[in-house]
Symmetry: C2
Subunit: 614 residues, 2 copies
């Protein structure tokens, strides 16, 4: 039986929340009041019904329960909840959506009670999967992760990726709250109020499901209680709700998505709410005072030795590096999309199986979960083929708004993968990762620099992309060589240089071959290893530009957004011609060297271009 | 009862197919023989068991059944099937994966029996959805679309997007064939041989399911027969199969994914196959001689008039344009991701509901389905928020390898959307679409140019991206103005220009304001509307570079891969400084003008930059 006193109080709190939702959105003149009103009881009961455990004065406390609004447009509800909890004043709410306010249109981490930025639908559940994996398998903490989901966003495939993985890992600490208010942005959702279909689909993915009336406190509270006792699987509360609930003239009406009430309508709505007790405050239970499980200190491993005469694929050096550096970075975890024997994440998996998560072929959820792990202080290294990160571009894009500390590692870059053909070739990955604010983009050319750059990536708090190569490549550096974020290496240099060839990865080896051939003809070029594509070593590029007549960039990537454009941008105000050699013809199957020649990014093309400049 | 003679023949054909698979992969030295062997009976029965209807001499015939290998790595099986059908010789197979061969590592449209390029997993079903939508709702043809699916790829969320949409549109002409061989690339899949779980999941998504032994001809043939008679829903055959079936020493063994037999192993394997009848040929039934339903000719609509003094959002002009041009382009269809009242695809939907498909919030499937429609001769206009196309980057990337004729239209570009905040802001869409080979990227600034560019997009066979703006913008052009792919407009020009400001979309209006302010101070700038970002108008840019002292680009987009880099690339070998104004600070909620100012891409920033150059 639900406590009557509590029910009465929750009703009062829900009314106050509705009041806040209405006044803040009407003041803002934009936002989603109706999508907030439908989930009011679902959220009020969670936070203030004794379920949620959270130290409101310490939002970063490791054992706090986590709450993510996957339906980020219900942000008015989120802010109203924290106002009802006493952490925001009514006048704070009136800054909603205004320039400089932490109360942004969609949840932003500027507001301290937001775990991760949302607003692109279908991402909250995957972030929650990362947080729940952390609680169950890494930090070994009893906190729970709650995700408020919209019914429209259940159409996103990413949701089902998250659901299958959550069930696979038996995340009984993960609770979804599905707010089935029937109406999407432009009309009814695919299933309307057909809760049985949701239940059938979700339970077929291995979740426990609980159907309920999402506005009935006496149904919502026991549902959460039941969710607390799931022992082998995640739980989804599937609540039938009414969009605009509480305001008769918007309830369950199409045309009210993302629309606010004007002043008169708002006044009318407030009258319908009846008496508002502005002094009532929702109380949130404190969590247990528990800290993450201590990581055992591990013995530092010696570096793998890379004999100068034995080519090694950089993807393999990546796997070696992970194992080597883990003792220094005990928060590291490795996630891989069912290709760990290609990316060589498997080397780490074999050494530290408890720090490795098989994420299967579901890149969107993999990236979302990595963000969730990052939010909980872990350092995820996320690997798949470079090409397949394009599958998760929206998740990568969104992660930048949540202060991520994620390392993406894409193998099988470029046409040099050979016979598998264009579907497997990463040819736009540099462009994609360069667009992310403050990202670091590394492209090592040999095993030694890979080892060093993986280490630099781990040291750096932020989003890093490392591009590795399928083919074995010669060792260029000795173990003592230093590599830094924003650095480069001038590998060949003389006073007679007539051009600078800038390359990285596979094409650097082509550039070095071209250098030798040209030298034999008495032609000298400077050769730069641009291992840090972003940030870029402007000083070295400017020096090369001023001392050689021209710049040639060579990359196993499409021209747009790649090394050529990065170099061009760095030299945009310096008058030097930049010639870009890049993948320009439709790639196909073939031997790596055939394809490098075909695309005119091999030694032959470099030599030809240099000679044109003489 | 299954015909005994047919069964005997199919067994012979299956053996021949296995022979082909083995010899071609061993010769190539790479490829996926075991993933091909598991689906041999499933495919042999489909093609040669009287089910599949296809004019083998006319692969483009509109009423052919369609077959897509979503598990594209099983390409050896695909080529072996067509060899068994007599359309490839054994010596053709020996070119598999070699440079210049149409038999690429993953299916490529260079091979005429490939409907669409595959190889990035989890995409075939969505392409099939497009083809099936076309058959049922547009061409009104009885052809069926068959998709061979791998079990590993069922982890991709895109599969479930396709499944839900196929059920929603009651695509009883779509048949999936799920090859449950238990083993993925690096070990067992999430569900192994748990066929019941697959059945539960798939049927919960509204599909008819048929479980079967995928190697038993007497089970496979009746299953296809049953699939022919589905009347209200798509059908999934869920076949239990054995990876490497037929070759004892690789059957059901881990470590044999993507691995070929060496010469000795191949000889051993061929012995196990027993007698091979190289003269047996699989026969494929002919389709009915039916043509697509004729499109009724429609009355040409008069252009919408845009009074010079009344601002209109380009997204709205997009909707108007679709309606206006449809009679000229009767193959057009419109697809939208549940935001048609924001992208204004709804204007078209209201005029031509039968040519509009609601694709719900599932962008990956939307793009895949668009490719399927394009493959069947339609001209899909696909709309959502610019930001959310990042959700489907892999599908967009893959589509370029299938000769696509797709128009993508992204609304709500840039920080100028205002209060909704960064999750809804397209800030990397130009970069993304520029990476696609031969893509066209348009960015209109007013309603008139939008109308013209939508028309240019429809006329052009290829992949086009059009970026529209949320905010209303002033009318700049009169109706007679011409716009072309690769063109630009010099809007302000004098002999005294000290710099050229290049902009498009919202920032063009800022540039024009800056022009006026500077003119009042006696400072003159050239202003160019770069409405075609790709291809780019090099001649006009070079002329501007040579006649003004410097170039300033201004864009409501991140710097990387955007207008600045496009212009820089076009001028890479011309010595002119290019200054890029772009979104560089973390975006937030606020009024459009506040955000343009904050990011220093407004008139103020332009004026400041011009003055720095004096």
């Amino acid at each position: 039986m639900v406590n009557e006193e509590l029910t009465t109080k929750l009703k009062e709190v829900a009314t106050l929340i509705r009041y806040y939702i209405l006044i803040m959105t009407t003041e803002a003149g934009s936002g989603h009041p109706t999508s907030s009103l439908s989930a009011t009881e679902l959220m009020a009961c969670l936070l203030f019904g004794g379920i949620f455990r959270f130290d409101v004065d310490n939002p970063k406390f490791p054992n706090n329960d986590r709450l993510i609004f996957s339906k980020g447009h219900a942000s008015p509800l989120l802010y109203a909840l924290w106002a009802a909890a006493g952490k925001l004043r009514e006048k704070d709410l009136m800054t909603y959506r205004k320039f400089g306010s932490p109360l942004e249109g969609h949840p932003s981490i500027v507001f301290p009670y937001v775990e991760a930025a949302t607003g692109s639908l279908g991402q909250g559940l995957s972030i929650g999967v990362g947080m729940a994996l952390n609680a169950k398998y890494l930090d070994k903490l009893p906190y729970r992760t709650y995700i408020l989901l919209g019914d429209s966003e259940m159409a996103e495939g990413s949701q089902w990726e998250s659901m299958q993985l959550a069930a696979h890992y038996k995340l009984n600490n993960l609770v979804g709250i599905l707010d089935v208010n029937r109406l999407g942005q432009r009309g009814e959702t695919m299933y309307g109020w057909d809760l049985d279909t949701y239940q059938r689909k979700i339970s077929s993915f291995g979740w426990k499901t609980i159907l309920l009336d999402g506005h009935s406190i006496s149904e919502v509270l026991p549902a959460y209680e039941e969710a607390l006792h799931a022992n082998d699987r995640p739980v989804m509360l599937i609540g039938k709700t009414i969009k605009g609930k509480g305001i008769s003239f918007v309830e369950n009406k199409n045309g009210w998505h993302g629309k606010t009430l004007n002043k008169e309508e708002c006044d009318r709505a407030l009258k319908e709410l009846g008496e508002i007790n502005k002094s009532v405050r929702g109380e949130i239970s404190l969590p247990e005072d528990m800290k993450p499980k201590e990581q055992l200190s591990k013995t530092l491993l010696k570096s793998v030795d890379y004999p100068a005469d034995k080519p090694v694929a950089t993807r393999k050096a990546y796997g070696n590096a992970l194992v080597r550096i883990y003792p220094q970075f005990p928060d590291m975890v490795s996630l891989d999309g069912e290709v760990s024997n290609s990316t060589y994440a498997e080397i780490f998996k074999e050494a530290y199986p408890e720090r490795f998560f098989e994420m299967y072929i579901a890149e969107q959820n993999m990236v979302g979960a990595a963000l969730g792990l990052s939010c909980r202080g872990k350092v995820p290294f996320v690997s798949t083929f470079a090409a397949f990160f394009s599958r998760a571009f929206d998740q990568i894009r969104m992660s930048q708004y949540s202060d991520p500390n994620i390392k993406f590692v894409g193998s099988h870059a470029g046409v040099s993968i050979g016979e598998d053909g264009p579907s497997q070739m990463g040819l736009e990955d540099i462009a994609m990762f360069r667009t992310i604010s403050n990202s670091v983009v590394f492209y090592p050319s040999d095993a030694v620099s890979t080892e060093r750059l993986v280490e630099e990536a781990a040291k750096h708090y932020g989003l890093v992309y490392i591009r590795t190569t399928r083919k074995e490549t010669s060792i260029l550096y000795n173990q003592a060589e230093k590599f830094t974020i924003g650095g480069s290496k001038v590998l060949r240099k003389s006073k007679k240089d007539i051009a600078t060839v800038i390359a990285a990865g596979i094409t650097l080896h082509e550039a070095l071959e071209a250098y030798e051939a040209l030298k034999n003809e008495g032609v000298f070029i400077r050769v730069i290893d641009l291992y840090s594509i972003k940030p870029i070593d402007e000083a070295t590029l400017l020096d090369a530009a001023s001392s050689t007549k021209s710049i040639i960039t060579v990359e196993d990537h499409y021209a747009e957004g790649g090394i050529g454009e990065a170099v061009n941008s760095a030299l945009a105000t310096y008058p030097v011609p930049v010639h870009s050699l890049s993948v320009k013809r439709k790639p196909k199957s073939g031997k790596p060297q055939e394809l490098l020649d075909y695309e005119e990014i091999s030694r032959t093309a470099i030599i030809k271009k240099v000679k044109e400049l003489i």
